[in-house]
């Protein structure tokens, strides 16, 4: 599995979490596939152990991995409904953040919707 950490302002634990979650959803990681241990992953990515622990904790809470004490961490195929809810929840969270930022910036609802439509168009083309 490929995990890349960049300095994007996005917290590192979330970058790891999202990439593992995507690998599971895309079927790149199959049910029961072993994942690197928390400490091994911290070493490989050169990030702190707390960061990888947090990423794995969130992944486990969201049902993408399971931890077997003494054995390690394994990918887990979430049931489709759960995966869908999870992604919807993420979208909702990001939208809330966008709305909060838009209010701070004094943007109108129309401005915000316009911006969303533009981003969607750019994404379709990209």
């Amino acid at each position: 599995m490929r995990i890349v950490v960049v300095n994007s302002g996005e917290p590192i634990y979330r970058q790891i979490e999202q990439q593992v979650a995507r690998a599971v959803l895309a079927g790149e990681l199959r049910d029961g596939d072993p994942l690197p241990s928390i400490r091994q992953l911290a070493r490989d990515l050169r990030v702190s152990v707390i960061t990888t622990t947090r990423a794995y904790t969130e992944l486990e809470q969201h049902g993408f991995i399971t931890t077997v004490p003494g054995k390690g961490c394994f990918a887990r195929k979430p049931d489709p409904a759960q995966a869908h809810d999870q992604l919807r929840g993420e979208v909702n969270g990001h939208l809330r953040e966008a709305v909060a930022a838009a209010r701070l910036a004094g943007m109108s609802a129309a401005d915000l919707v316009g911006m969303l439509e533009r981003v969607l168009r750019e994404d379709d083309h990209g």
Binding site: G9, P11, I12, Y13, R39, Q40, A42, R43, R46, V47, S48, V49, I50, T51, R54, L104, A105, G106
Partner: protein
Amino acid sequence: MADALRVMGLCKSYPGFALTEVSFSLPEGYIMGFVGRNGAGKTTTIKCVLDMLARDGGHIEVLGHDAIDDQVTVKQDLGVVFDQPFYPPEWKVAQVGQALRPFYARWDEALFHRHIDRFGLPAGKRVRELSRGMGMKLMLAAALSHHARLLILDEPTSGLDPVARDDVLDVLADLISGGGVSVLFSTHITADLERIADYITFIDAGRVVFTGAKDDLADAYRMIHGGPGQATDQVRRRAIGLRSTEVGFSALVRSADRAGLPPGITDQAPSIDDVLIHIARQGDAR
């Protein structure tokens, strides 16, 4: 979770400088960055932990033992790396191992040779002929060869070029992956800690400003930026280490204060340097 190092209410004063009630703890198996500018008290704290300086007050525990009273036990578990090797300059690399061996119950000569190989240290070279990076690696090799469980590194990367610093970070990342070793790493090059450190203790003018998980440090503060007209009194009252120019201003604020600021001010998560610089600047201004 057991603590590898626990410093409680440490006090030490010299004419013109005082370490005041310094307290922090490092859980076993993690890396703590010990940061602050030169003269903040990092080395004084470390020397008190190692009993190279007599403290005026406070209590220090290493892996559950009193660092001063149980010193003989504690030293077996402790590895120390300074910015310069503390071995006689005429010693050869291999002799360092032979000389240290009698002092450590768990000394592992074969492991020492594996480490000096891995670090590319020529066994026949003399200590005085080693570059800074090599000298540092020699101390690290020695610390690892008696199976130290707590490593204390005082400014290990300060004299190193970027490639050598990167090597050191690799070694530390390797060590931590086993889970049995803890590291206290003092430095003013915070870029080294930005990713690898689990905990940060930040000290300024002999007092602890922050100690805790690194992510909590980033969560506790925000860096704000705005235009020249936006540095109102309301902003100024909350700003820490305000820097204003003709084209704008930047400052650190507590995250709790962020919400109350006027619209149009942008904010972002601070780097460790941002926090360190702004808090130190605020302290100087007082």
